[in-house]
Symmetry: C2
Subunit: 155 residues, 2 copies
């Protein structure tokens, strides 16, 4: 459908750089919710380009799809998000980014001060204590210290 205000999945793929299969997959995860034509083809809003761009950026930051989905629930479902919608949502998201970045910077600095320190008493080594269960989330050994799959805490 060239020249319409809606996009076919192929057009959306081209605009975002995503594979068509990835977009379908994202739909199953609730990241986009296209309408269907009579014949069952997906029609996307132009705003979905932005939604998917956001997904890509958030992934770059290491957020999982379910975390991103949780974040995006703050955008309206039925109408195209307005500038105000995006602003409110991104203000909230920015907190998570800041926290993530701060965590990484702190970790880098600990690494800096500690990794070359040669201390063999691991008791008080900052690096040794940096990888606490509290910090660790999203990567590393999955079922660590009672951190079981059902511990559902989105973001």
């Amino acid at each position: 459908m060239k020249g319409t205000d809606t996009l076919s999945i192929g057009e959306l793929a081209e605009r975002t750089g995503l594979a068509v299969s990835a977009i379908r997959f994202y739909e199953t995860k609730g990241l986009v919710a296209p309408v269907r034509t009579e014949s069952g083809q997906r029609r996307f809003m132009r705003a979905d380009i932005r939604r998917l761009s956001f997904v890509l950026v958030a992934q770059e930051f290491g957020f999982s799809i379910s975390e991103i989905a949780a974040q995006m629930e703050k955008l309206p479902d039925n109408r195209a998000p307005t500038k105000a919608d995006w602003t409110r949502m991104s203000r909230d998201f920015r907190k998570h980014l800041d926290a993530k970045i701060e965590g990484l910077v702190a970790l880098r600095d600990k690494l800096d001060g500690c990794i070359g320190c040669g201390c063999l008493s691991m008791k008080k080594c900052q690096l040794y204590n940096a990888g606490d269960a509290a910090n660790r989330h999203g990567r590393g050994p999955r079922y660590l210290m009672g951190d079981r799959p059902d511990a559902s805490d989105e973001l």
Copy 2:
């Protein structure tokens, strides 16, 4: 073997907070290389606590196991790493950390300036252009734009 200078896998697990199974798995990936007793049990050096702590921290930064393995190859294999070994290696690693952090900060700032901008012309939206194939590595759609599995570039 309590009171020896080597550690059993269980002791190492306790010291690092890792599951025993995870340590065995890491061995298959070359992250640790324990020796064996006559009867076949693994014996770890105390320095392996540090190696594994490093692994945990690096994972926290979003590095994959093979990337970490590549990085750790700069440590000596047979003797326990000295302070100098760790320093040299971590100096090198720090470059990657800095790059990663800078990338995230830049992305956050773009997000900041862009996500609420309301521009519908995606052509020149910074956010839209931020998720380029160049930036994207490690997460997101895997086989994107010729970024095929055989493109072996460690770290």
